[in-house]
Symmetry: C2
Subunit: 511 residues, 2 copies
């Protein structure tokens, strides 16, 4: 199977349904199919690209982003969706690393064209797919598409052909691109359609379309003939306007966005009753926030997805039904878990020698299924390591309970082992955060002659407040098992963070 199946199915079964509404633009799935083949014809014919060459996309959310995905798929050109939050150095690195031949930009990113032209010699075509006039040195994507006849001699992609290169954030060494094949992305779309994400009429692209969280929905909604609507970039009031204006039924939000939404002063001014599904991920939703969100959006089902770019991305899901279940209070609350393996993906929890650990015991989370990436682009050594035995080694530590719920505990490399004990840094961080003087913290392991490794808390103190290392250590030892408590504290003005806001613990360790 490949991603053209999604498109052809929609053309056959949903020919007359609206595929896209974006401002004045609206067209059916029959027309979407034609536009995708025109886009492919433009890229291969007019631009002269050869199958297999890379086409980057650097766009806010819009119809042309969706068209770029499918035009590339039809043409057999791997797409390279770039993180819109990156800076110029990251763009240059990834465009050169992927040896990209063409890039599609909108008005937000068009000003970067001169710099990219100078620093990325492999780029032969700058395609403009934004609002306003086409900038100098770029060709109009819309005009190119309109002038190209639909591609007639379509080469059916192999399931194993790379459909996209998706760069992962730099928290584990330098950025690298996961090669996701047609089969990978197709499989993930299929997995989430089986009892995980219900079918809806209108899907709002609110999360950025370069990110796998949105890409998941891009394919499953196309397959199902759902209408795509777009918010250029998330802000809470704009989101409410989009939902109300389009009667949108589903969107992806991270917990921070949910927080901004349900606590927005104008929340009650908007009619959000069309919202049936909110998908969230990246982190479990704090229970208090989830409770508020479920009360304020009583028609809406919440779904948590856990996964990573390398698994296209979904590994586990906490379903709408799971969210609505009243769980026993004498056990771990599944609402604090990442859910259970999605249908089609197998999960194991293993020790350092890839041996299964007993249920309930922590270990590294492994996943396999047709959604597992082909590998990182040009990183054969890393691939042999992370894909050994056919399983994706997520680098996440977690445990599975007897009902199949997976509790994610820590990044494996962030786990600390003082004297052979396992300490998960988020647990210690959560304790330290309860201290009123702490604004932010990150807990890391440092070499220790006696214990092998010792726990260090890196702390940012709230403005105007004071805190000493001995006071914080004592605070922890009064409240937590002693081996989990920090033995040293470092105070900083701010924590180093990566492009997506994650704390870069690697940078802390070398300080």
């Amino acid at each position: 199977m490949n991603l053209l199946y999604c498109l052809r199915h929609a053309e056959t079964v949903h020919a007359k349904k609206l595929a896209v509404i974006d401002g004045e633009t609206r067209y059916t799935y029959a027309e979407f199919g034609v536009r995708s083949r025109q886009g492919a014809s433009f890229l291969l014919g007019t631009c002269g690209l050869q199958r297999g060459e890379r086409v980057a996309a650097l766009l806010l959310n819009r119809a042309e982003y969706l068209e770029s995905y499918f035009a590339c798929h039809v043409a057999g050109l791997p797409i390279v969706p770039l993180n819109i939050r990156w800076g110029i150095e990251d763009f240059v690195f990834s465009l050169n690393d992927s040896e990209t031949s063409a890039i599609v930009v909108d008005e937000r990113f068009a000003p970067l064209i001169p710099a990219l032209r100078e620093r990325c010699p492999s780029i032969r075509h700058f395609l403009f797919a934004g609002d306003g006039p086409t900038p100098a040195g770029a060709s109009s994507f819309a005009e190119g598409l309109a002038q190209a006849g639909p591609l007639l001699d379509i080469v059916e992609p192999d399931a194993d052909d790379v459909a996209g290169l998706f760069y992962t954030s730099g928290t584990t060494g330098g950025p690298k691109a996961a090669m996701l094949t047609h089969a990978n992305l197709y499989a993930n779309a299929v997995h989430v359609m089986m009892d995980a994400i219900p079918r809806v009429d209108v899907y709002l692209h609110a999360a950025p379309m370069f990110h796998l969280a949105d890409v998941t929905n891009l394919y499953q909604t196309t397959f199902r003939g759902t209408t795509h609507v777009f918010q250029r970039a998330f802000d809470p009031e704009g989101f409410m306007q989009c939902v109300q204006g389009h009667c949108a039924n589903a969107a992806v939000l991270v917990p921070t966005m949910v927080n901004m939404l349900v606590n927005h002063p104008k929340f009650d001014d908007y009619d959000l009753t069309s919202l049936q599904v909110v998908l969230y991920g990246a982190s479990p939703m704090p229970l208090a926030l989830l409770d508020v969100a479920m009360r304020k959006l009583p028609n809406c089902g919440f779904i948590q997805g856990y996964g990573m770019t390398e698994t296209s991305p979904i590994i586990t899901v906490l379903t709408i039904e799971d969210h609505r279940t009243k769980w026993p209070v004498d056990k771990a609350n599944p609402l604090l878990s990442a859910g259970r393996p999605v249908m089609g993906v197998e999960v194991r929890i293993v020790d350092d020698f890839d041996r299964d650990v007993p249920l309930g015991q922590p270990g590294e989370i492994l996943a396999r299924g047709a959604n597992r990436m082909k590998g990182y682009w040009r990183r054969d050594t890393v691939n042999a390591e992370v894909l050994r035995g056919g399983w994706m080694h997520t680098g996440d530590m977690g445990a599975m309970d007897e009902l199949g719920f997976v509790y994610v505990m820590d990044r494996k490399k962030d786990m600390i082992k003082p004297g052979g004990e396992n300490v998960f840094s988020p647990e210690v961080e959560a304790m330290i955060m309860t201290h009123p003087a702490v604004l932010e913290t990150a807990v890391i392991g440092v070499p220790d002659e006696k214990w092998g490794e010792a726990i260090r808390a890196v702390v940012v103190v709230r403005p105007g407040m004071e805190l000493s290392d001995s006071e914080l250590i004592r605070y922890c030892r009064e409240r937590m098992t002693h081996f989990k408590c920090p033995t040293s504290v470092v105070f900083l003005d701010a924590l180093p963070k990566g492009g997506t806001g994650k704390v870069l613990k690697t940078a802390l360790r070398v300080k």
Copy 2:
């Protein structure tokens, strides 16, 4: 992917749910997993079968049938489910054709053991999985399973390994077995879970478990952790007792069974409100019957599936939503169609040269997808023909409308071409059946010097009534386009029929 994924997913996510209720027998999915590995151990270890050897099943519906499927899958032994309506000659043919090494029978079929032992030399093991004492010359499946430790060194099947040989009815030449692989059956289960068949708690095996219509549900329900309950063989009152007794939510019925059910004198004596899904197939439901059924089972959704053994089996589905839609009356009624392509299967309608015909025009229905059989067992010449270009040539004539609904018209070889026109025999048969003196009819083509082919009606007259050929021909010509009318009539006492009740037109043509 392979079918062990379904089992392992259920073991992980639904460990504590009941997998099976059959009389006094009931066990969870965790136990089902163990029993499947014990069954595999029994077959490979105790019986000494080698991976790849065939194991036939000749059973009414029961828990042991489900266990036989999964024990074979775990062991790497293709299962050969036999049609319970066949006679001894068909059993002997298929067992010898498949060179089966072991056969599982119940008390209904145990009396055949001596004959099969004599006539099927490849069978080394007769396994008894029925009620009552184990007959002489057979081993107890239950005891063998109980004594075997779970298989430990499971060889993971390749997706392309044959999971089962499914014999197709003999209406197209002699019977032959479709080789369905792990990937084929897994794909079909996945396809129907995407927006076609909803998840339910309790599934009733009422249709025979050798048949793909039930096999579809056997895998998707296992994957989803649905509880399996069993009716040994369909009768309408027994069905109502099972539904009421188990609060069953879903079952497969053919239109005849639905008719027997909703017109049963005791229909109102039973509580069938648990029934959420009735799947039907083999033929479209007559609209009047569908109307009665939907009124009498107002909580229940109806789903029609069209397909064939060779496509594992689903090609198109008429969904619950399609059944509930009020369709415009100025066009063909989609309720008379076979529905639209299921997600994951592509359908084409082509002429004799495999070229696409325009929408609305009749042609042969082709299908492809991961559900398409590997081929017929040891029929390389036929395989090259029916699978040419990678598409399954269904041999069915049909047309697709602009909404993607597929109308099945006739078997291609039953279509008649008088003077170059296309006549679909079911249309003529339906007209003839309106004559009050006609009990049964089959319309075939016979060689004709002038027109190439002429239309002949083979008719069984109702007892006590009279009908002449000229009267019937005149009756037709008053009501139907002349080129569609029979030019000759043959009267028979009964129509020759195959094992599943289909009229054998091949036998009529040689008369």
